[in-house]
């Protein structure tokens, strides 16, 4: 029965997987066998229906941002870890003197302006630590309604987790971190290949404050105060875009 030897080749013929010789043999058989020809026609119809109706999906930009953000997380970690250690060999003692000399006046100025105490050194080292593999997020989610309740029971404050994806700042997730000796919530956003960590802790000062920028070692900080909480955004994103981020975040609350 010649049909048997061809029946299994019909799909391969349709998919262009046969050698020219094999294809010719199948075609010759189809020309003379109405049963196999009908099978082949049905097969072609199914193939056409599928190729016309099944859609190719586009990976959402949020997903691409999350992946690129996570690559920064794992990829740059080595470089980032080495950098502060190398520097510390010579400038740490010098810096310590300056800090002691400047601390009292800096604190006075901060208090006078009623500006949140940024603790930038600690935030920067926490930010760098977060870029090490596996340290960025404890809960990975692009959904604010997942991230916000995740903090319940883990930290004693309930931070705002606004959805500002439409402004180009997709949510990556959240984690808890230790800053100034306490567990604080950290909300993680992405901007292209940059990550933004937002640290939150309570403050006794109830008056809201507008976002205030600063920078250190090439990293940018923006701090603001709202509803009895201090927010500290840290990123290697350029200062202008981090300002935009902070404004968007603060306004979205």
């Amino acid at each position: 029965m010649p049909c048997d030897q061809f029946r299994d080749s019909l799909d391969a013929r349709l998919d262009g997987e046969l050698t020219p010789d094999e294809a010719r043999d199948v075609d010759q058989h189809l020309a003379t066998c109405p049963t196999c020809a009908a099978d082949y026609a049905r097969l072609s119809a199914t193939h056409q229906l599928l190729s016309e109706n099944l859609m190719r999906y586009r990976a959402p930009d949020v997903l691409k941002a999350r992946i690129r953000g996570a690559l920064v997380d794992t990829g740059d970690a080595g470089a980032l870890r080495v950098m502060p250690q190398r520097r510390s060999t010579w400038w740490r003692s010098l810096a310590a003197g300056i800090v002691i000399a400047g601390a009292s006046s800096a604190l006075t100025v901060a208090a006078m302006r009623g500006r949140p105490d940024a603790a930038p050194d600690e935030l920067l080292s926490s930010h760098l630590r977060s870029l090490q593999p596996g340290h960025l997020t404890d809960v990975v989610s692009t959904n604010q309604h997942n991230v916000k309740p995740w903090f319940n029971g883990r930290v004693d404050v309930s931070p705002a987790v606004p959805n500002i994806d439409s402004l180009g700042f997709p949510l990556v997730g959240g984690r808890t971190d230790y800053v100034r000796g306490r567990a604080v919530p950290v909300i993680v956003y992405a901007r292209r290949q940059h990550l933004i960590n937002v640290y939150v802790w309570p403050t006794s000062d109830d008056t809201p404050s507008a976002p205030h920028p600063s920078s250190r070692n090439g990293y940018h900080f923006v701090t603001w105060r709202a509803a009895g909480l201090e927010y500290h955004a840290v990123s290697d994103l350029n200062a202008a875009e981090l300002d935009t981020f902070a404004e968007s975040f603060a306004r979205a609350r």
Binding site: A45, L54, R66, L71, G78
Partner: protein, 173 residues
């Protein structure tokens, strides 16, 4: 990994994220699950990138996406392998909620999406790799990890099953 490895990974592997996401959407039938799995697969691919020998990057990535998807399905126990077709009517089929899918929501497309969603996962994957990703049998064999001959027979059975499902659906409506 140094900076040039990161750059190479981004250049070689990341262009195939749409394909990766498409495969995950069809295997998992849920857009949020698909996003999570593709992210996991991309990071796994990044970790294994040292072992990538420079072959077809798309097949290499899709094989990882497939493995992550199957693991996910096992873990979630949501694989609807044995769900009779009638029960799939109530299922939210991948694509049904997409903005562009809604715009074009022809009954034909929905019928086909439903039918493919009702196929067992080992048939669904070869059909998607062939009909949507337009892969050769050799490439499909690399992704799925079975011989080319198995790809051919599985694809053949998958098309017959799908054709039968479509006939059933037409008669039911």
């Amino acid at each position: 990994m140094n900076q040039s490895d990161v750059a190479r990974f981004e250049r070689v592997v990341l262009p195939h994220l749409d394909d990766a996401y498409t495969l995950a959407r069809y295997l998992l039938r849920d857009e949020h699950d698909a996003q999570d799995v593709v992210q996991e697969a991309a990071l796994r691919a990044y970790r294994y990138f040292g072992g990538y020998s420079g072959g077809d990057a798309r097949s290499w990535l899709l094989a990882i996406v497939r493995n992550c998807s199957l693991t996910w399905l096992d873990r979630r126990k949501t694989d609807q392998r044995l769900v009779p077709f009638a029960d799939v009517e109530g299922l939210e089929i991948a694509g049904g909620r997409d903005a562009d899918a809604m715009a074009i929501e022809s009954s034909e497309r929905r019928r086909v999406e439903r039918a493919i969603a009702a196929l067992p996962v080992e048939f669904r994957e070869v059909l998607v790799l062939r009909e949507v990703e337009d892969m050769s049998y050799r490439e499909i064999s690399d992704v799925v990890g079975v011989p080319v001959g198995t790809v051919m027979s599985r694809l053949s059975r998958a098309r017959k099953r799908l054709a039968a499902l479509l006939v059933d659906a037409r008669e039911a409506s």
